[in-house]
Amino acid sequence: LATTSIRHNVLAVASVSRYSSKYVTQILYTPL
């Protein structure tokens, strides 16, 4: 899991996974 520092009360988390034979970094922004 990758995270960033919380800004404007928004938390961002991300994970890299394989999709077929390519790599997608899925980033989810969520309010605190």
Binding site: L1, A2, T3, T4, S5, I6, L11, A12, V13, A14, S15, S17, R18, Y19, S20, S21, Q26, L28, T30, L32
Partner: protein, 157 residues
């Protein structure tokens, strides 16, 4: 080809145009900066607390979120195997529970600087065959649980 950039549309040109029409730049009338401040990503979350305190905070947050965990091995206090029941409606609108598994591990980066890493560990569905497709899984339930856990830790700390 006559394809070109329209000179009067460039910001500097427009500011000069407005100046000639008596509108000077001011704090309220100056370019908004939308420079994409570099987003700095790092693994997991950092902590400078005492390791055992970090681990007990994690257990407390897991308990508050209704998650379960396996007893840790005696020779490894720093890895927690978690199972979290995530309920959500399927296409027919029936609530479906999926047991999401996650491995939480405490790493020491340097003296008094620790990193809590969250790792997706698949779904545990009763009797389901081993993951058939390990290349089309949705990370969103994992990201959601990780978010809830981080918010719980942020709140309790």
């Amino acid at each position: 080809s006559r394809i070109a950039i329209l000179p009067s549309s460039l910001p500097q040109y427009h500011l000069a145009y407005m100046q000639t029409h008596g509108v000077a730049m001011s704090k309220k009338l100056s370019p908004v900066s939308v420079k994409k401040s570099k987003i700095r990503w790092h693994f997991g979350i950092r902590s400078r607390s005492y390791p055992l305190d970090v681990v007990s905070e994690i257990y407390r947050a897991l308990k508050n979120l209704g998650a379960e965990w396996a007893r840790h091995r005696n020779d490894d206090l720093w890895t927690i195997n978690v199972r979290w029941r995530n309920e959500a409606p399927n296409d027919q609108g029936e609530m479906v529970a999926e047991l999401l598994k996650m491995r939480i591990q405490l790493y020491q980066l340097e003296q008094n600087n620790y990193l809590v890493d969250f790792k997706f560990d698949g779904f545990e569905n009763k009797g389901a065959a081993k993951r058939r497709h390990d290349d089309t899984f949705s990370a969103y339930p994992f990201l959601r649980f990780a978010t809830k856990l981080i918010l719980e830790l942020a709140v309790s700390s």
